[in-house]
């Protein structure tokens, strides 16, 4: 860990907020993508079957 001096809290707050928001965006996008893909596969299987 580099020595961030008196600005340590400021820098870590900025990085933490960024990581939380970006990871949340990625997770929500991936979860919804999988859910919708599964729903469509089920619907098409039902129609074809």
């Amino acid at each position: 860990m580099p020595d961030l001096g008196k600005y340590g809290a400021t820098i870590l707050t900025a990085y933490s907020a960024t990581i939380i928001l970006v990871v949340a965006m990625v997770v929500l996008s991936v979860v919804r993508a999988r859910k919708v893909k599964r729903q469509l596969a089920e619907l098409e299987a039902r129609r074809n079957g």
Partner: protein
């Protein structure tokens, strides 16, 4: 081969299926190298101290936040002129990603502003125009959710995207337009004399590339999801009828 071929949802999905893993790998690689380099191996700045490390997240997030709206503008224009559904869905898919990046830019800017300017917030032209951009993102997303008929929703959100472009441009050039307020000029410039010192420049370019590829990957993934969701609606409607 014409770019309009990708207006076909099947071709679009086939292409994104192939390129998405590569774009994701590029995003992870550029972000990992750029952030580790910038955070651990760059010195303190003379005027900003160690807070200069925030530049590696603030500048890429702010740059992409504005350009995300630029993509929405182009995609919306294509929808209004050529009525390609994929382009309307690209605009819809880009909005939450752009909103998140705008929020990241505002939060990182505020946390940096406190020790540097002595305040988290100031009604400075660039800060204010960014806040307005965030509100436009939220309004755009709400409008998509509020209208059931997809083509009508695409029409109205496209008009909103045209109007919001004014604020996206103002967000980018506010410092140059008004030449006042707390926010300093651009950190990156084609003029080498104007951009940040070389020691910060390369890791900054890497994180910028990383954020760009991450944005692209998310927009492609989310556009694919929107195309599938629309297909589900169409099939459900057929079942009902």
């Amino acid at each position: 081969m014409s770019i309009w071929e990708f207006a076909n949802p099947v071709r679009f999905m086939r292409l994104t299926g192939k390129v998405l893993p590569w774009i994701t790998a590029l995003a992870i690689g550029c972000l990992a190298v750029g952030l580790i380099w910038g955070f651990f191996f760059t010195p303190e700045a003379e005027n900003f101290g160690s807070t200069v490390k925030i530049i590696y997240i603030h500048v890429p997030a702010a740059t992409l936040a504005i350009n995300a709206w630029g993509l929405m503008f182009v995609a919306s224009l294509i929808w209004l002129i050529r009525r390609h559904h994929v382009s309307a869905l690209v605009a819809r898919a880009a909005a939450p990603v752009g909103m998140t990046l705008t929020l990241v830019a505002l939060i990182t800017g505020a946390t940096w502003g406190q020790p540097m300017w002595g305040t988290y917030w100031e009604w400075d032209p660039r800060l204010t125009s960014f806040l307005v951009l965030l509100i436009f993102y939220l309004g755009y997303m709400a409008l998509w959710e509020a209208i059931d008929e997809p083509d009508k929703a695409a029409d109205l959100t496209s008009v909103l995207a045209m109007v919001g472009t004014v604020f996206a441009v103002i967000s980018r050039y506010a410092v140059n337009f008004w030449n006042q307020g707390l926010h300093q000029g651009a950190s990156l410039s084609l003029d080498k004399e104007e951009h940040v010192s070389d020691v910060y420049y390369v890791p900054l370019l890497l994180t910028l590339a990383g954020f760009f590829f991450l944005f692209l990957a998310l927009v492609l993934l989310r556009t694919g999801t929107e195309i599938r969701a629309r297909r589900i609606k169409a099939l459900q409607l057929q079942e009902v009828n």
